[in-house]
Symmetry: C2
């Protein structure tokens, strides 16, 4: 129960598992749950990572209870083996006896049946034991139906006790994520977050401006009388892109729209997403011939287009990113990773003289790569990318981080840009791909690209 | 001070920053520090992630103190602006007054000078204020010299108090990591971990066996009389590879060697690394013509070899992984991402009839891709990879996850394998690349591959 309905409920997350604690496995649940809590109007105060020792898990829960948190989410430790201890620790922490839920035991057995049939040499007794263990839950807990074989739980403190309600979720993200929806619908969850306000959450994405300009825009919005007090705005710089996330109560919708309008006006050249879509989403949609929601290209949706790439310093990362979405084979024909100059000449048709005269990292070679990829693979759109990823190979005139990108489309449409990217080799490679994705988007979305891109040097 | 010299010192890590707490930025320091603590013989008990609220940071520190931890490491919150509060919170927590370290202030000013010269329109007063703020430290703290502009700190509890010694480190990994070495050398750190034993840490890497066989090998080692009681063995399954990490005191070296020998004997076909090297390290070394440390290929080092790839369902990920190490341009010529069948024919020279007769996902097409990549790009080694990454495109005979890989080398050497990989599209792509890396390694390292690979179906 939330004793202070005037403030948002506060939450903690406890990630369990020695493999996560020791960094051998990366936790993907904490960040995901943190976004979901934001949407649910719950403030996240603490994340704790603990190993598989019950005493440490208990200590982390006690810490969060002492902090007065209203809800705690846990992930992991719900497997069938004896070292998966979360349910038992939570039961004891909440002062509830453990009991076997016979109906649940039967449902888990149903889930396990095909597995046992497929692998007849599995130990049947071990399976039955694990089945029973997973059906042993704290008395009075709300069961969240298994997505894999592990049920989740929502466990309030025992009658007469105080403390957080605990939502117990499995470790694998593909099980945890659907189960979260179930948890939200339970009476126990709703009771725990009484007083939570409903928030809206919107994201603006920009590319190609420094973060400091957003700070200036916020000051400008304030001067213009936009009521920023009811908008919770956070900006984040990520791989050269800026994300502006705003959380607000429905009553502040007008304030948000006024703010978003100021961003759109001041940053018309660099704001590319107002609906949460990424540049990857937009490039895929444009290649499929879909209409984008963003203002710039409204109504621009058109024909499906195929794409081919010739990339050098990024070594396949651009093609890997383009082929990442399911269904990419409908529009990605493929490409050439032209790491050596010989491959640029033989496989893409770049003239050796162009390389000799301008150097492999040049506008001319980027253009020849784009044109060659388009022509040789018979694609509608061709992309060329060449640069110096480092750590060696840079010079005064062409330093590490210099990248040239070119995109050519039908009817002679073409954009060529250079960028000087900061960071070490992996950063340069990653960011060069992001630069290319934005250039592809810009060519496909139309608009007036020349005035919209600032030359990098 | 560690009051229980008989047990290893225990540590906690506090990661600060609202961006990390809310999952907008991924923490890379926790896993790194956790490995370093393991090496230093310190047990990691808790990781806490907190936002930029001083009260939450204080609560996390109090929790770790109550848990009786000997040392706490913090990362982040050391910047020049007023919302970077870590030093102040730590000072107050340890009962130490804040003071300006004038000498440190001068050293930071020296670091900032070139910055101020390069950007003359930066606000000089703001820089001076930030400089002073970063030189304001808890009285009696040991200063760790700045790597960027932020100094780190080692702060013991005030005279007469009990509690953990706190090592205060900056957030950016490139600053935190070198500073950690400084921290290890301080008197304050050594005093805090009195009684820490020195541990050795070794890693064995295997590919192509289920984790359960390692459990069986552990039982076998026990039956053979290996003293496992003094070895702390953890196994971890990661992307189809198994890592066996063993930590032990120097006195248990014989026990470790006996254990490692049993693994080497029982898993001769799948153990590929005994020295911590990854398959990526080994493939790069073999292509550079270096000698591997692993037993299998001892003395096999030889000529430098160039490599070319034609990949389909992995869409560039294999080439991206091969070109990841600095200096890869010395041996990676490039390759073709042959996503469409037309590209397989036109760019790699696969016969259309081969595709029609056997299907694009087949041993024959994988071989034609490998041979084509090798011939067309003039490489010593050619790799072909074709498969079904899903979610669609699979059938009964050729399900999602089926991948064929082929590696061809000089003098007709050739290996072709299929695998059926579990998971969703990104998992299949990632794992297919790992399978290919191991096949490349096997061809280059020699040995007797036929008996060493189990057919996948």
């Amino acid at each position: 129960m939330n004793g202070h309905p005037a403030r948002p409920p506060r939450a903690g997350i406890v990630i369990t598992g020695t493999e996560v604690l020791t960094g051998r496995v990366r936790d993907r649940n904490g960040p995901w749950l943190s976004d979901r809590l934001l949407e649910a109007g719950v403030d996240l105060a603490h994340v704790a990572i603990v190993g598989d020792r019950p005493a440490d898990m208990h200590a982390a829960l006690a810490f969060m209870a002492r902090e007065g948190l209203d809800v705690v989410l846990t992930s992991g430790g719900l497997g069938p083996t004896a070292d998966d201890l979360t349910a038992e620790v939570i039961g004891s922490f909440q002062g509830r006896e453990m009991m076997i839920d016979a109906a649940l035991e039967g449902r888990i057995a149903e889930i396990l049946r095909p597995l046992a049939e497929r692998y007849p040499n599995f130990d049947r007794e071990a399976i039955a034991l694990g089945n029973r263990k997973q059906a042993t839950i704290p008395e009075g807990a709300t069961v969240l139906e298994p997505v894999g074989t592990a049920p989740g739980l929502v466990v309030a403190p025992a009658e007469g006790s105080r403390g957080p309600t605990i939502v117990v979720l499995p470790g694998p993200p593909r099980e945890l994520q659907p189960m979260w929806r179930q948890a939200l619908a339970t009476e126990a969850w709703r009771a725990a977050i009484t007083g939570a306000r409903v928030y809206r959450r919107r994201m603006l994405r920009l590319f190609g401006i420094p973060e400091s300009e957003i700070a200036e825009t916020l000051r400008h919005a304030e001067r213009e009388g936009v009521d920023l007090a009811h908008l919770e705005i956070t900006t984040c710089l990520r791989g050269g892109e800026i994300e502006i996330v705003t959380r607000y109560e429905p009553g502040a919708q007008d304030a948000y729209e006024a703010f978003a309008q100021i961003v759109a006006t001041r940053h018309a050249d660099t704001l590319y997403s107002v609906d949460g879509t990424t540049v990857d989403d937009q490039v895929a949609a444009l290649l499929r011939g879909e209409v984008l929601a963003s203002a710039e290209s409204r109504g621009q949706g058109g024909a499906r287009r195929t794409i081919a790439v010739a990339e050098s310093c990024t070594g396949g990362l651009l093609l890997a990113r383009l082929t990442n979405p399911p269904g990419a084979s409908a529009y990605v024909l493929g490409g050439v990773v032209a790491y050596s100059n010989d491959v640029k000449v033989a496989q893409v048709g770049v003239e050796r003289e162009t390389i000799e005269r301008h150097g492999a990292v040049s506008a001319e070679v980027a253009q020849a790569l784009a044109g060659g990829a388009r022509a040789r693979l018979g694609a509608d759109v061709g992309v060329g990318l060449t640069g110096i990823a480092g750590p060696s190979g840079g010079g005064d005139e062409k330093p590490v981080g210099l990248v040239w990108t070119c995109v050519v489309g039908p009817e002679g449409a073409s954009l060529t840009r250079s960028a000087r990217l900061p960071g070490a080799r992996p950063d340069v490679r990653e960011r060069a791909v992001t630069v290319a994705m934005h250039l592809i988007r810009r060519l496909l979305a139309g608009g007036s690209p020349e005035k919209k891109f600032r030359p990098a040097h």
